[in-house]
């Protein structure tokens, strides 16, 4: 089983699905000749030709619109938004058309589109290259949203998304692209959408999160275990919509002390919904207030290294929050 980077796993997933199904095609800005600004689609046009790897104009509404139309016609498009920050011109197509067409047509039509968009900061990208867009789409029935943390899950979830009969937003973390390296099988496997995963078993505190911050959580958990004997139970949501309620409830009951971690800002984020589920289901098993550690409620990622460091989560911030919860 080869060790590969998160970005390679995403590329491999697209390559495999395009080889398996002629209806799968890729479109987006600079995905063809250039192979994507992050090299996510590198080599795909050479292999599959420009009919299946389309360089589009700089118009996200057109990318989404074309992909949704093709999907409704029976194709399996993978549309790339260069950064999730640029996705907003396409929200109307995604929320009002893709998410609703099955419902609106009483099952006559469906829309098996996948929209990939890199999220997250920490790459000195500033305002327009660092946003987390998940809370904009979170809570829109009819959409599925996945946000993998591991390379293994990135491949398996993207393949599952391509095969899903309904629209899936695939939020990959651009900081994870080269940071996360692990064994990824080269065979054809999928990771089911809607299933969370326990990354680490523990008894003192429960940490629930998704995407990049779990990297810090795992490091912090390791240190807390060896330095202080604190045992952390860590749940990777993997799918944000629909949330895996059973897994969240089970993880919360495991310790009664829950910390929710994500990079998207705190107010109205995914953590608020996770927290509400736990409050609804687990009142009599809680041993501490449900805590959230998230990005600050400020308008944008600052374009200044010290301020970016202040904005971003890191291992020390996560470790401190975990320690405080353990001590409570």
């Amino acid at each position: 089983m080869p060790v590969m980077e998160y970005i390679d796993a995403i590329r491999l997933a697209m390559k495999e699905e395009m080889e398996l199904d002629d209806n799968v095609f890729v479109l987006g800005e600079d995905v063809g000749v250039k192979g994507g600004v992050f090299t996510t689609t590198k080599g795909l046009q050479e292999q599959f030709g420009e009919q299946r790897v389309l360089d589009t104009p700089l118009s996200e509404s057109a990318i989404a619109g074309v992909a949704i139309g093709a999907a409704m016609y029976g194709m399996k498009p993978i549309a790339e938004m260069q950064y999730s920050d640029f996705m907003l011109p396409a929200t109307n197509q995604i929320i009002s058309e893709a998410a609703k067409i099955r419902y609106r047509s009483n099952n006559d039509w469906n829309c098996p589109v996948v929209i990939r968009a890199p999220i997250g900061g920490g790459i000195f990208g500033g305002l327009y290259h660092s946003q987390c867009a998940e809370s904009i789409f979170f809570g829109t029935p009819g959409l599925k949203i996945v946000a993998p943390y591991s390379a293994y899950d990135a491949k398996g979830l993207l393949k599952a998304a391509v095969r899903d009969p309904d629209p899936v937003l695939f939020f990959e973390n651009k900081k994870c692209y080269k940071l996360i390296k692990e064994n990824v099988p080269e065979d054809d496997y999928i990771v089911p959408i809607g299933k969370a995963k326990v990354l680490r078993e523990g008894t003192d505190i429960t940490v629930i999160g998704y995407s990049l911050p779990l990297h810090f959580v795992m490091q912090a958990a390791e240190e807390l275990e060896s330095e202080q004997g604190i045992s952390s139970h860590i749940l990777d949501l993997r799918t944000l919509q629909p949330l895996d309620r059973e897994a969240i409830i089970e993880a919360a009951r495991k310790t009664g002390k829950v910390l929710i971690v994500h990079e998207d800002n705190k107010t109205g984020g995914v953590g608020a919904e996770v927290s509400a589920i736990i409050a609804e289901e687990c009142l009599f098993e809680l041993d501490a207030p449900i805590e959230r550690l998230c990005g600050p409620d400020v308008p944008a990622m600052p374009i200044s290294p010290p301020m970016e460091k202040f904005f971003m989560l890191n291992k020390d911030k996560v470790k401190e929050a975990m320690l405080q919860l353990a001590l409570y």
Binding site: I7, E19, D22, F38, T39, G74, R102, N107, N110, I123, F124, G125, H129, P141, G142, K144, P165, D166, K174, K175, Y177, K178, L179, G194, T203, D204, Q228, I230, P242, L243, R245, E250, R253, K254, T255, G256, K257, A279, E280, E281, L283, F284, E285, L286, D287, A288, P305, P306, K309, F310, N314, D316, K317, K319, E320, L323, Q324, A326, L327, Y328
Partner: protein, 461 residues
């Protein structure tokens, strides 16, 4: 003078978004070299860019901490530059900002030992403000086990009793806290463990649910075909069936089909094949089929009448230079048209091999997109399922399709004598926008001539 010199760290900068590391290509400065601010000190290689790293300050190169070819994480120190002690502040800030979160660590450090320790007595003398604040989890456990919480010492913040304190207490006081109905356990050493595991099981079951909510996420429905009654039943339309339906409908509704048929005497071909087939099978491992001979005859005729190899494009007719033969291959529930590319460059043996390869792939469901693309003329071996006459639908957007019907022995008049000959029909559907009767008649005549000119001397290689 060592006293007024300081060494400043130079770190690997973030050269591009998404990069977490870069490889040192070549050092441009060696220890002892003078370095000016912004002067390149080394070359680095990454997946995205090859770049030179500029110095962040004036000074003299002190020591190199990374070797050429070594991969260095962004933010890691790659070298130290010796400066006069005055400009200490200009080194790049690798370690600023991490202190923001760690401010409270020191004050809480003293408490941390109690979390891991099984013994809890250490905190009894400290702050007890939260001593009688019980969390729902603690109260639930206390109620389940009939505990007096005043007897338990809290290890949490402000002397609070944590859920874990209760669980530890239950483990340590198993004898008195457990329900009386529990029978005596023969091996006392195992007893606490068993009791606790039972209690853990108990609390993992839902104790009570509160609040109004959907118990599961509403599923996005998938289309299922069900129903029917005694007189009928329904079959799901598979994607392939759907594609066939779409293509057929498009062809029939868009292309004005014309049709013609001729009769071919293949007696010589039958003899030729009977002579060669066993040896061919042994040597090549594939069957030498009649279809291979037909394809050779058809390809030869297309070369003479290239208009057969064309596409209607409304304001023009596009004639294809390559002759790529689509071969209709049927299975129980579908028909596919894989393509023999550049069939005009292959001999009969090569065609026979291609036919076998494609037929095997179709039956195994292993056709690739590439196998299906680029066809310019279709041949269907309808004789293989016993037909003697068919009216094929053109494989859109090609100009014509030809079928090869069953070979049957029939009495035929030759030179006013009756002979028993092996005869077969060839049928052609044509796009009447491109092709007319005369040209197709000539084409079919040429196929016929080619078929009838096979003899025992014909070479398949």
């Amino acid at each position: 003078m060592p006293s007024n010199k300081t060494l400043q760290d130079v770190v690997m900068p973030q050269l591009a978004e998404s990069l977490v590391s870069a490889t040192i290509g070549k050092w441009l400065k060696k220890p002892g070299d003078a370095v000016e601010q912004y002067e390149p000190i080394c070359e680095v290689i990454t997946d995205k860019v090859n770049a030179e790293i500029p110095s962040t300050l004036d000074g003299v190169m002190g020591e190199l901490l990374a070797e050429e070819g070594q991969e260095i994480e962004v933010g890691a120190v790659i070298c130290r530059i010796e400066t006069a002690s005055g400009n200490a502040s200009s080194a790049s800030g690798a370690d600023s900002g991490q202190s923001a979160a760690s401010g409270q660590t020191a004050e809480s450090g003293g408490r941390s030992a109690s979390v891991s320790a099984a013994s809890i007595a250490t905190t009894a003398s400290g702050d007890q403000a939260q001593r009688s604040r019980y969390s729902p989890a603690v109260q639930t456990l206390a109620q389940q086990h009939g505990l007096d919480l005043r007897a338990i010492i809290g290890s949490g913040l402000g002397g609070r009793i944590t859920r874990k304190d209760v669980l530890n207490y239950l483990e340590n006081n198993k004898g008195s806290a457990a329900p009386q109905t529990r029978p005596a356990v023969p091996a006392p050493a195992n007893a606490p463990f068993q009791a606790v595991s039972n209690e853990l099981n108990a609390i993992s079951e839902p104790v009570r649910n509160s609040g109004l909510h959907l118990s599961e996420t509403p599923k996005i429905p998938t289309i299922e075909v069900e129903g029917g009654d005694r007189s009928e039943y329904f079959i799901d339309v598979t994607p392939i069936r759907n594609t066939i339906a779409t293509r057929m409908r498009q062809s029939v509704s868009e292309i004005p089909h014309g049709w013609m048929m001729i009769e071919v005497d293949v007696t010589n071909l039958v003899q030729l094949r009977n002579k060669l087939k066993d040896e061919f099978r042994q040597r090549e491992g594939v069957n030498l089929t009649y279809l291979a001979f037909l394809l050779k005859a058809v390809v030869g005729a297309i070369k003479d009448y290239p208009i057969m190899n064309s596409v209607w494009a409304v304001d023009k007719i596009i004639v294809k230079r390559d002759i790529n033969i689509s071969l209709a291959v049927g299975t129980e529930d579908s028909v596919m048209t894989p393509v023999i590319k550049k069939a005009d460059q292959k001999n009969i043996a090569g065609l026979a091999r291609e036919i076998e390869d494609l037929a095997t792939k179709v039956r195994a469901g292993k056709l690739k997109l590439d196998d299906m693309q680029g066809g310019t003329f279709t041949v269907n071996n309808t004789g293989s399922f016993g037909s003697i006459l068919t009216q094929p639908i053109i494989n859109y957007p090609q100009a014509a399709i030809l079928t090869f019907e069953s070979i049957v022995k029939r009495p035929v008049v030759i030179n006013d004598m009756i002979a028993v000959r092996s005869m077969a029909n060839l049928c052609l559907s044509l796009d009447h926008r491109i092709l007319d009767g005369v040209i197709c008649g000539r084409f079919m005549q040429r196929v016929k001539d080619n078929m009838e000119s096979y003899s025992l001397d014909t070479q398949v290689y």
